[in-house]
Symmetry: C2
Subunit: 401 residues, 2 copies
Amino acid sequence: MNKIELKSLLADRTLGTPTGQVVRLLSERGALSAAQIARLSGLAKSTVSTTLSDLRRSGVVVETAEADPARTGGAGRPATMLSLNPDAGTCVGALIGLREIQVIVADVSHAIIASHTEVMDEDYSPAEAADVIRALVRRAYREHALSTAGLLGVGVAIAGPVNPRDGRIQRASVVPTWAGTDVREVFGPLFQRPIFIDNESNCAALAEMMWGAAQGHEDFVLFKIDLGVGGAIVHGGRVLTGVAGGSGEFGHMTIDPTGPLCRCGNRGCLELTASFKPFLRLAQNRFRRALTPEDVIDMARDGDVGCRRLIIDCAEAAGHGLGIIGTIINPPLVVVSGRMVRAGDLLLEPLRQSFERHTLVKNDDVPPESRTRFVPGRFVENDSVLGAVGLVLRHQAYAPV
Amino acid sequence: MNKIELKSLLADRTLGTPTGQVVRLLSERGALSAAQIARLSGLAKSTVSTTLSDLRRSGVVVETAEADPARTGGAGRPATMLSLNPDAGTCVGALIGLREIQVIVADVSHAIIASHTEVMDEDYSPAEAADVIRALVRRAYREHALSTAGLLGVGVAIAGPVNPRDGRIQRASVVPTWAGTDVREVFGPLFQRPIFIDNESNCAALAEMMWGAAQGHEDFVLFKIDLGVGGAIVHGGRVLTGVAGGSGEFGHMTIDPTGPLCRCGNRGCLELTASFKPFLRLAQNRFRRALTPEDVIDMARDGDVGCRRLIIDCAEAAGHGLGIIGTIINPPLVVVSGRMVRAGDLLLEPLRQSFERHTLVKNDDVPPESRTRFVPGRFVENDSVLGAVGLVLRHQAYAPV
């Protein structure tokens, strides 16, 4: 079976044949055992076995070295893990960030082949982005001696709301130079392949769900604390988009209607107190030199009381916002991500306490399994671009954006 | 076909036979034409036609007088509308309110047969509620010469979060005397029928979705302004429950962390400014006599500037809370309900303006179809108890609570 056939199998959304179902499951999940495939697909074990034999014979599916985590430490020999043949196809993920462009090339076995980042001037245009992405993708394919004929699709993560109806970038004030852009029109002609687009925080949530801290969870909230505050709501395994692509914009909850002006045009937004933004400025005033987020966290860990207090203040503000999210959504799981999470329990402990103070359902009111759990995210800097790869691997299977 | 057979058809969740599918659709939707049944079920028109003939012959399905609204005013003769035979079964809906118990008896054609309300002392017990509900149901069945043998199930709406895992009432501080109660244990022995339970606001959202302002919508937010503020989030046609049943508790968003104490034990909750609560107290001070919510709305409509300002203040506070909900969820539709909606545009206009000021995605940023729409709810006082009937008609078909 050649690459063209795999492409058509992945694009087939009728979910009809067992072959289609097995290929889509492996595309979505990476390496799986035959038993896992049977459980996840609902197909009979014998059907899975026959289908896998055919797919292995034709070279679409191969054995991998990865062990089945469920069997590790248990009795019996470990199950054989299978994945799509890495040679059978590649995906490109790209992040259109505020000041950088990231590109990742991965194969259909979920292995990352190449990763490149380019720093951009602020307010770069879609045409400049297209040039940079084309160059980064060419370089990655050349360096790894890959053929672009095997490219299955391109996922694009965007720093701003994407309209779920037409894929256009919205909300002029957040990414002014990209307002109204249809990303598929920009990147479609470059690649001649399906283009999948979503907001960067929605992509980050997808990455945590597919490979990170939310693996195995279908309902959770991603809350990201970095230079701004972002996030996403996942319900039933799908990221909520909102009618205008504006769902999960936690950083712009109006905490203080008469507070300082935010870049979004509103006043007193959560991210003005619950991100690195005020935090870096205050730390720089204290030490009278330019500091990175990492510097401040390092100094806090080394015991500087001022930096510790700044992290606690950020955690308390974030906990207020999360308390409101808890009162509205009452999620089972919150994945806290972004560079602020590198502060570890210095951040998470006061954040949990502040959440508990502000949210409606208190821990003491409910049994442990009905409490909202907090976990740090697995990915810090490449979550969105990984999720862009995930858009191709998952949305190819179910529904294009 | 007798009542027992209809019961088993409604309880059959395998969605297997066309007969089962048609019966479940009519149970969920009320009156439908054959063409609507074909569209909603995906069954072939010929299959629907044969199935309906069989069901009509056996008396499970009957013609109704109700016209197909899609055909009204159009050309051609109106389509025949069909419903389940009203004689084939009844449902009971009950509301366990803070100071009252409501009971509705409806038949499977969605017609309301009887409705009764009993005012209760504050902090009444589950045993007292069981006595009152048994008496009200007996009275309704006796007055309308109905046999309880046709009772298909009982839906119960509760003023407080219900744990979605075990159906127990949570959050001791909201309904202290009911904390930890398993409603199925209280009402199950009374009726020997399936008991369906949900929070009163979730039931209200179901009523608006099945028969009210959100008919035909699968994604919306219900925002209820009355003596308190409540609500629900509907996504993909299902009400979000949250891990502890706490989803949609909009009245308890912490707006001012150092504000006055709320009955929930937190400070500065939204409902302290965005409900009738502060409003009635201020109006009573102004007029030096006891006033009902309706009095204040009437005086505002008659031009009293003080009462008008109170409604505007309430709308602005509610718009701030809704602005946060918009930033987090970005819903296509908000159904505003509760008695405050009787103020009409006196409330809705400033509410929309305040929402627009505080939410992230502004109307001017997006095309009209990507804006959040606001509509008043259809039901004011009986929404929760109607939704409790809806729990039986819908959950019987899909999944018990």
